[in-house]
């Protein structure tokens, strides 16, 4: 089973753009260790940056794979650049907006904008008299804001330059991906 780091696909423009979201929850066990309370201070649950990179890779990888109906084995080959300005925390939602920059038979380059929706912003605003009736709902809104960017290269490994052979089975796009595609009404992208 593949460990998925996106929860849902929210937008898809064929061959060009795919947007996915990731809700960060205290139910994720690794957040209890990253970082746990110790003698140096209180617990500080933060989503590891490596998992944010993986989330952008899964989003952009699905986009690249969808171009040829997931018949190609698309693997992350290079992190050209990555920037993340914040430490994502439980109660926040990350959005990965991936676009294909260039693509040919052997691979693709992608650019992903990472945005954050902080639900605690809305809660804070809702408790203020100026923005709501104080019940924590009315007038309480959050705004997406850009917090990072990811530039990734993907390889179609069956088209690798060295002529290496790989198993026929597509071990990259497994059932987990199909579940996410089905949830977004995009199952038709995965042709059998």
């Amino acid at each position: 089973m593949r460990w998925m780091w996106i929860d849902a696909i929210t937008h898809h423009e064929p061959n060009a753009r795919l947007v996915a979201v990731k809700n960060i929850s205290m139910a994720e066990e690794h957040l209890h260790d990253h970082f746990a309370q110790d003698e140096s201070g209180a617990a500080c649950p933060v989503m590891p940056t490596s998992l944010v990179i993986e989330g952008t890779a899964q989003t952009a990888g699905i986009l690249v794979g969808s171009v040829h109906g997931f018949r190609e084995k698309v693997i992350l080959a290079k992190i050209s650049s990555f920037r993340l300005d914040i430490d994502p925390r439980p109660g926040q939602t990350l959005r990965y907006d991936a676009r294909i920059e260039r693509m040919d038979a052997s691979g693709a380059s992608t650019e992903t904008v990472i945005s954050l929706l902080d639900h605690t912003d809305a809660a804070a605003a809702a408790t203020g008299a100026a923005t709501s009736g104080g019940d924590g709902t009315a007038g309480a809104t959050s705004q997406w804001r850009e917090v990072g960017r990811s530039s990734l290269m993907f390889s179609h490994i069956d088209q690798n330059r060295s002529g290496l052979q790989f198993p026929e089975e597509n071990f990259v796009f497994s059932e987990n991906f199909r579940t996410i595609l089905r949830s977004a009404g995009l199952e038709g992208l995965a042709r059998d």
Partner: protein
């Protein structure tokens, strides 16, 4: 980017691309530097460089499109008529020259080793490739 570029302008652009793609210092990008041996390029970097060159030298009027295998030939070593005992045959060398006229073979001709073919790709060969293609 304007198609009427001087060699110095092309070199500056290629150097910028290589610094970005390979994370090397400007001083390391000399005309004679080999992309693999001196600048540490791996196979995926060749695709990255390919894409970056296309983007850099395209204009709204004319796309700078590099066909697959045009800049860096692929899968040549799987053809027995082109490679024998780990070295390029005369037919293999002829094909290399045809596919990559932008490369200097003077040192490689005596060696012909498949293992060393990636060292043919130098900064100068990239600049010459761009110059030829812009002039075409």
């Amino acid at each position: 980017m304007n198609h009427a570029l001087t060699h110095d302008q092309i070199f500056d652009s290629v150097r910028e691309i290589l610094c970005d793609a390979l994370g090397v210092d400007e001083d390391d990008v000399t005309p004679a530097a080999s992309l693999t041996k001196d600048l540490g390029a791996e196979s995926i970097d060749f695709l990255d460089i390919n894409f970056k060159i296309e983007k850099k030298f395209s204009t709204p009027e004319k796309a700078f499109k590099i066909n697959q295998g045009e800049l860096f030939p692929e899968n040549l070593t799987s053809d027995a008529s082109l490679v024998k005992d780990g070295k390029f045959t005369d037919a293999g060398m002829e094909l290399l020259r045809t596919k990559m006229p932008h490369v200097d073979y003077s040192a490689f001709d005596a060696d012909r080793s498949v293992d060393n073919v990636s060292e043919l790709f130098t900064v100068k060969s990239l600049c010459d490739f761009v110059a030829r293609k812009l002039a075409a």
